[in-house]
Symmetry: C2
Amino acid sequence: MRQKLLFKNCTILAGAGETEYAPVENGYLGVEGDTIAYIGREKPEGYETEKDMRGALLCPGLINAHTHAAMTLLRGLGSGLPLDRWLHEAIFPVEDRLTDEDIYAGNALAQMEMLSSGTTSYSDMYDKPMTAVELCAQSGMKINLCRPILSFDPSERAKDSWRVQGTLALFDGYHMAQNGRVRVDFSIHAEYTNHESLVREYAELGAERGARMHLHLSETYKEHEECKARHNKTPAQWFYDLGVFELPTAAAHCVAVEDADIKLMKACNVSAIHNPSSNMKLGSGFAPILKMHEMGVNVALGTDGTASNDNLNMIEEMHLAALIHNGILRDPTAMPPARVLDMATRNGARLQGRADTGVLAVGKKADIIAVSTQAPHMRPLLSQLPALVYSAQGSDVMMTMVDGSILYENGEFKTIDAERVYHDVAASVKRLYNL
Amino acid sequence: MRQKLLFKNCTILAGAGETEYAPVENGYLGVEGDTIAYIGREKPEGYETEKDMRGALLCPGLINAHTHAAMTLLRGLGSGLPLDRWLHEAIFPVEDRLTDEDIYAGNALAQMEMLSSGTTSYSDMYDKPMTAVELCAQSGMKINLCRPILSFDPSERAKDSWRVQGTLALFDGYHMAQNGRVRVDFSIHAEYTNHESLVREYAELGAERGARMHLHLSETYKEHEECKARHNKTPAQWFYDLGVFELPTAAAHCVAVEDADIKLMKACNVSAIHNPSSNMKLGSGFAPILKMHEMGVNVALGTDGTASNDNLNMIEEMHLAALIHNGILRDPTAMPPARVLDMATRNGARLQGRADTGVLAVGKKADIIAVSTQAPHMRPLLSQLPALVYSAQGSDVMMTMVDGSILYENGEFKTIDAERVYHDVAASVKRLYNL
């Protein structure tokens, strides 16, 4: 039986787009099954269940467009080390020891953090992806998951690569599973971790299947310049020449991209993912997000993994994205709050290939969060959008709904056994770090 | 009767300084009266009351070194406007209408926000300062308050200036009130809002009294360059030449300061206050905090007012300060977490002239916050200091103690009537904005 649920007495951040956010005050939002069926000021008929949301702002669920969720187990590890030492001394040795059980526990902890701070869908790049498939089946979150290709042997062919074959099996077995909540993307880790022949073959296999692509692009100036020295072209041009951009592509970081790269991204429908915390913490720099936006590139927002952030809080990431570009460009009008919310919602939906999410509108999936406006830092509530982007904290999220199901409400996880996850995380940490 | 209270089963972020933070795990912290009397692993004798703080990190209370607290009533106002229009169209017209009652309500709301996110002491610059004196007497917070001098008439003398005379009366009447919790500083708003003769006289009056000074310094490049055009010297040089730096001075913003200014600040014991959110949101830029630190200037941290932040959350401000300088300098080692915590605690204490605060150590005032490590985003807790600076949220603060008195705990304000404040804020907002 399809549920019919009516949210009442709330302000609804409906509509989409920079000039289109149209808060409906003292409004009603009706959910039928997994879909938004009504938004308006008049009370509609025929809803058997009503939910009083007084003091809440209903917003579209946030979409974390780039993370490595299982890295919660490495949260904060090696903070303050130079990048090479951070990777080789702090991160890689622990990652080498991660078992399936560790990754399941790390992913579950990550989903708890994301659900409790308003994220409904995320794009995840990591190994052992079946753990995420299983977890999402249980938890109800949406995921675009991928296992990245790294090919250090130039003679390796797709038919002999367990990573490539694993992606094909994963895609054929689980893409669009769980009523479309689980999607499998293709993924090339980065230019500097791959060889041309395998990348070309892999892209062809992805294009045949109509898959999407997720990769790291020009995260650092060093990587960008080394690629130019190696191939006499930028990473974006390298991917393009190998046919990778035949697939709808999500490119994480884009700190060092050049104008010609941005034009290529626009022409090939490549989305950029802004990861401001990670790019700053690791000393990478600032992606030219506003230039990309002005040149027509779709820009989404992500947290990256918790070893370089160190949280998965999209509300904090919005705040950062809203502030830093005004500072860099010395222009208080550079990043309007609506553009920031776009990045964290509908632009992420477009990147994930989920046209039915990212906005509160009739006919869209009921991926909805309720943000409390009752804490001191949300008062007075003079304008909803600036309050959400500049003042709100992750802890203000009081409810997170995905496809019409409430997965988190007032500190409680409805589909995840929090105590079990904490227990499993503690056991993994004890083993991984010899604590 | 002096209380004797023992916190047990907690980790204590004791010690001070970049290499000196020494977390005491599974420790005890004893408070006698308003003072920290014990920190250690062994349980001490003679404490009649014990408080189990399992799962908490005890940290020094955070010190917000620059704000305009009453501006909570203007939270988020005019977001996205250019600076001139923001001031003249959004901010000033509302400020002109603020009554004593409005400012009291705005300050009370600000204190609720600060206490609930771990701030124990703040430096506040605003008009109608008696409202803050009265409020702090009731709430128990620490404040260095000041009313800024603005002199637009070059013929104005100190004896005829109600602002100067008001400061003298305030200082003589209330400096060191409430057992030293309330302190009155002298304040010159900025170079561009003042005339030389009055500034010189005012500084002399302050120096005679042994007062401290709080001012805005080179907040924007425009203001800095206009000063040079007007006076053929920088704002720092202008203040120095007028005798202002004879007083121990706190200089907010310092975005556009030059190397010679920084040398002057160091020589004159001028502290800088970093306000990263505000400087970014308003498009001012990035203060050269690390250069100041390296050149020996004491650098504290502040939120500025909520119309340009838009919150008073020092934990979020620490996170920003920790990230942005790594990004600007493209160096992941630029801003170690301990330096960030220093800025938010002991450096602020030094700026406020409160040598007995800013650090958890025996003999210091019991200004203590308890930060919960139980939320998903704080797990696993691999290292306390990075967790506090990069992962923690304001909402993780579960207790705030000032001078041995618990003022906030688990959502409850012990000395402020929250419902009354919310009612008064709503009434002020209704009147101010014709809502």
